[in-house]
């Protein structure tokens, strides 16, 4: 399984802080597995993606295997 972690307001949209999806998982597969409002939100270029704690320069290149953790990160809040 792959763990998907939602941060900030994406956790509200997801209705949960995290969920598990079957491995392997790419960007298209991830979006397909999410409710459409959430899939649309994570596509917003301001929302970043990290795989096992490393930020991805290109979300579309996501390739997660069993035991990996994907984090979906909205922009950080203002000071």
């Amino acid at each position: 399984m792959v763990t998907i972690v939602f941060l900030g307001k994406l956790a509200d949209l997801a209705g949960a802080p995290s969920l598990q999806l079957a491995a392997p998982l790419g960007w298209a597969g991830l979006k397909a597995a999410l409710p459409s409002a959430l899939a649309e939100a994570v596509d917003d270029p301001r929302n970043r993606v990290a795989l096992n704690g490393a930020l991805l320069a290109d979300k579309a290149g996501l390739q997660a295997g069993a035991g990996d953790e994907i984090a979906l990160l909205p922009p950080v809040s203002g000071g």
């Binding site: 307001k9 956790a11 990290a50 704690g53 984090a71 000071g79």
Partner: protein, 150 residues
């Protein structure tokens, strides 16, 4: 002396600053900034969420850059996460250096970056409801003072 921490409980800045200053003998000056949760109209609480694999490593990377950019003897950078009440300290950055300019500028640099580029998500409770805090344009302006991209 380098002390970078995320704290999950209320802290008293003075209990950190005294030992930090003592741990850097020979310093010329130490500059400290402490931020507190403001008593903004109707705000009952502030919650900070972090993402373990990014937030603390990000603070360490920021400390590395501060040490690279300024002539520092020591740097203390402590940030709260969890639920905070108005009046509680949320962040404390302290820099010790031979010369005051390095100490003051390092604190200014770390605060600008912590506020706008560190991995914290904040929401505040008003009238019993939680509201997410959005990014601010001012934070981008603050970062541009250091001639760096976000």
């Amino acid at each position: 002396m380098r002390d970078i921490r995320l704290l999950h409980q209320m802290f008293i800045p003075g209990t950190l600053i005294g030992p930090f200053t003592q741990a850097n003998p020979g310093l010329g000056g130490v500059c400290t900034f402490v931020g507190e949760v403001r008593y903004d109209q109707g705000v009952e609480a502030l919650e900070l969420t972090h993402y373990e694999p990014l937030t603390l490593p990000g603070m360490h990377a920021l400390a590395d850059r501060a040490f690279g950019r300024f002539d520092l003897m020591g740097l203390l950078m402590v940030h709260r996460v969890g639920v905070l009440r108005p009046g509680e300290p949320i962040v404390c950055v302290s820099a010790a250096a031979l010369h005051r300019r390095d100490a003051i500028d390092a604190v200014d640099f770390c605060m600008d970056h912590l506020k706008s580029a560190a991995w914290f998500w904040k929401r505040e409770k008003r009238g019993g409801q939680w509201h997410w805090i959005e990014p601010r344009d001012q934070d981008h302006a603050d970062l541009s003072r250091w001639h760096e991209p976000i």
